[in-house]
Symmetry: C2
Subunit: 272 residues, 2 copies
């Protein structure tokens, strides 16, 4: 772990929150192991969440039909992205591990953190048509979501009212992290900390500190390699891989499930 | 349709975009039918995306440990939410139908629209422990997601690399819309309009206009009623409903799938 660089992207309004404590625990545990830790404290930074033409210094290419992805790609190539984006990209480029620490809002990221995703993961910088998924730009980096929920764990099960947490995690872990190539580590989920006694919250933080001791050695979650999909046929799974799965009980992943039952824990645990 | 009120929450930076054309088509088609249509043009309004203490006029209850949901609930009760939130809540309260028009960013809403969700759907106003899902606050209202993708449709299938669009829609349609009680209409998905000839884009818009003629008469997507879950057992499906599904091929919904194959089109088409 020594010498490794870690970026914690953190979104909570209050330094007295459980999320703040989880962020502080990570910073301390990783620093103690010799890592260099940077924290992007989004609310404290008053991080701009909205993707606008102001993210580009100087004129845009086509003001009449402004297209954010294409315009920011050009700006990135020309070194004309706004300073706040450039600074986050510097931190991200240097990082070996990125931890996103947040309270889950509406089954997803708080808007301020979604804004970090929308604005910092610029086309060209973080992905391209060629560099995606297992061939993604950040495939030498690891990332993980560390978050609190408002609901208890049972509600987020495959027979609970919120539905299987694996389903809720798919767009975040596959559609953002793995899309950019990150090796996605198991999420660190703190179930409803505001509804449990303080001793239980302490135990949760202790578990997180323990996990952080070996976190860079963890096996990442399993996704299907880009090679298995046929680019000429709209990135559908190649027939040989379909056949390989025909006799299996579960689909390969939560999203690419092939009409089979979802592999249990696929977005929660490595080797699932 | 005459006399019905429609709110279009719209997020695109450019009036020359396909999303703008889809928003304009909806406004025109619905107005022609006698509906009153309001549009919240989030970028034009410079809508604040981030959930902060500034959303509350005057002092907060607990500044040391600021908790957004609880503080905004108190502010809503006391009429102390910021003017921009209050104005959006007025539009939403009056609406019979809410259309969210946006380009899909990272398998989800653009941050500015997520900010509308995070800030406008205040605890107490839009949901409570008692009023959720099929017993939700807005269960006399309809809502739908109308969005463009960057990827082609095949990539978002159950054997495509992005995974089944039904999975990606679950957190949005169940976790936000249905959570607040909305009857969720089938999503209007414009697949990769920027990668097709302009005639195809025109055909897409024509299909949207046609759909809008009868949109308030559409059957909503199927979710499992709150009554089917046992509040005393962490909102898990009651045994009698488990049994009812035991012999069936598919689980009841994408999220509450009971370890069975997902019901095809569950988040895409009514009656699935």
């Amino acid at each position: 772990m020594a010498g490794k660089k870690v970026l914690i992207v953190y979104a909570h309004q209050s330094s007295g929150s459980f999320n703040a404590a989880a962020k502080d625990a990570a910073k301390e545990a990783l620093t103690t192991q010799g890592c260099t830790v940077e924290v992007s404290d989004l609310y404290a930074m008053k991080f701009k969440a909205t993707a606008t033409a102001e993210d580009i210094t100087g004129d845009v290419q086509n003001a009449d039909h402004f297209r954010y992805a294409e315009e920011t790609k050009l700006a990135w190539e020309a070194g004309k992205l706004s300073d706040d984006i450039t600074e986050e990209q510097r931190k991200l480029t240097q990082a070996d591990l990125v931890i996103f620490q947040f309270p889950m809002y509406w089954f997803s990221l708080p808007a301020i953190m979604k804004g970090w995703i929308d604005r910092v993961l610029t086309l060209g910088y973080a992905f391209s048509q060629e560099k995606r998924y297992s061939q993604g730009v950040f495939n030498d980096k690891k990332a993980l979501l560390s978050f609190t929920t408002g609901s208890q764990e049972s509600m987020f099960s495959a027979n609970g009212i919120n539905g299987d947490m694996n389903v809720t995690l798919w767009p975040l872990q596959n559609g953002i992290l793995h899309y950019c190539g990150f090796q996605v580590l198991s999420p660190q989920i703190f179930w409803a900390p505001s509804h449990v006694p303080s001793e239980v919250r302490s135990t949760m933080l202790k578990g997180w500190r323990t996990r952080l001791q070996g976190i860079l050695g963890e096996e990442p979650l399993a996704f299907t390699s880009l090679d298995c999909f046929d680019r000429e046929k709209g990135f559908q799974l190649k027939p040989e891989f379909h056949e390989k799965h025909a006799a299996k009980e579960f689909g390969p992943t939560v999203g690419t499930h092939l009409g089979k039952p979802l592999p249990p824990h696929n977005q929660m645990r490595a080797g699932s």
